[in-house]
Symmetry: C2
Subunit: 78 residues, 2 copies
DNA sequence: TGATACTTACCGCTTGGGCGGTAAAAACGT
DNA sequence: ACGTTTTTACCGCCCAAGCGGTAAGTATCA
């Protein structure tokens, strides 16, 4: 663990802070331990659903922001 | 295009709003057209790096939020 | 309406991401 | 120190995500 992506560091921090081993987290999240290992090591090519399960387990929310998001959300309530 | 994920709808909306065809977006973002097609159709198993390139091209930012994020960010400036 | 240009949908193929199993390394207590 | 338990790192296999090519569908002209 040295040189890595922001996501990886965030996952690592939250996992440690939750007192979970990779194995434990992988069981709870329902993903392989390798996925967590890879993500924490900065792999950016992981699958979105896998990452999402991990984030959900660690109580991390993924949000999308853009200048058009208000407009988009308004269009959804039509 | 009917029944799909939030991400897919957001991407679709921003692409249309940018006046880009899937082909054009795929060229600019440097990904295959199939990836964009799949994402807009609600595929949640796409790769993170692929999605990120698409989001970046559409000027959409991905943010991670959690109760511990402040604490995390503070720890990074150490 | 027929031709042209553009967009979307689908089909095989290839490559690499996710998986479990296992070895290596740390962190314990005694 | 030593053995035990927990955590981390790595390996090889399998399947599906991504790719380009192409067919099908739309739009927009004269």
């Amino acid at each position: 663990m040295n040189e890595l992506s922001t996501v990886g560091r965030i996952v690592h921090y939250h996992r440690k802070r939750s007192g979970l081993s990779r194995e434990a987290l992988s069981r709870i999240a329902g993903v392989g331990k390798t996925a967590i290992f890879d993500i924490e090591h900065g792999k950016t090519t992981c699958r979105l659903d896998i990452l999402n399960r991990i984030l959900a387990t660690l109580n991390i929310r993924m949000r999308l922001d853009s200048p058009l998001m208000n407009e988009y959300e308004a269009s959804q309530n039509a």
